[in-house]
Symmetry: C2
Subunit: 117 residues, 2 copies
DNA sequence: GGTAGAACCTACCAAAAGGTATGTGAGAAA
DNA sequence: TTTCTCACATACCTTTTGGTAGGTTCTACC
């Protein structure tokens, strides 16, 4: 009954990290600076257009930094800012919850899809 | 370097709690069983159509229970399941992160909107 | 000379999510 | 008797999000 007075900040968090790909991008950037093409390969299944959009959003929100190494052919990498790292920290429990409950959730989702077909 | 082998479960979590309203709904249900109209009032700004959709999704995923008190006029309430409570727990750090950084994020968002206009 | 790869951009499209407006049936309050 | 409330349903529309398919500019490799 002491958390009730705390206004819910989830709208703020989700305005940054909501969407289909952003959490995965952040996850794969924990390792350190990563080049565009490598992010794409690691995340897997994302189109280049969407990946750039998301990366730019995250840069605008000061979660990532983009470094252009001024080379030809282009050499660019993205990494977490200190601010971004605090966000990743806050995401970890949710990440772990998802990992723990992956099977359960998959089963539940499947059962509702079965009803439709 | 020990979290790297853990697959990211955020896709699972967000498949349940993603979207504009679900986190807020869960937040306002922490107090206990709440009637449909009360949820609507507490969340504020949500349309009835969307609210029912979200509530039903959450019930399907075993995060909430719906109790129909078989009365006329209708008396229905929603509350967290034990499973749902574990999810809310995992959401708290993200909630607090959002609360801590609300001002910062608002400023960043505003500055990018300013550029557009 | 042709191809591949780097990090993007652009136009166009499809799907999903969210929102508005209106209707329902029955009791309770005016 | 009209109006209100409850907990929805339904049709329709707009916005947002994501995806596809092309192109660009330059170097390196075969």
């Amino acid at each position: 009954m002491d958390r009730m007075d705390t206004p819910c900040g989830l709208d703020v968090s989700l305005s940054i990290v909501g969407g289909k790909w952003k959490p995965l991008i952040l996850f794969h950037l924990q390792e350190g600076p990563t080049r565009f093409a490598d992010v794409k390969r690691r995340v897997g299944g994302i189109s280049e257009k969407v990946l750039i959009q998301q990366l730019r959003d995250l840069v605008e929100m000061n979660v990532l930094v983009r470094r252009d190494h001024q080379r030809v052919p282009p050499m660019v990498d993205y990494s977490l800012t200190p601010f971004g790292r605090t966000l990743v920290e806050a995401l970890i429990p949710l990440c772990e919850w998802g990992t723990r409950n992956r099977a359960t959730v998959a089963k539940l989702s499947r059962s509702t899809i079965d009803m439709e077909t």
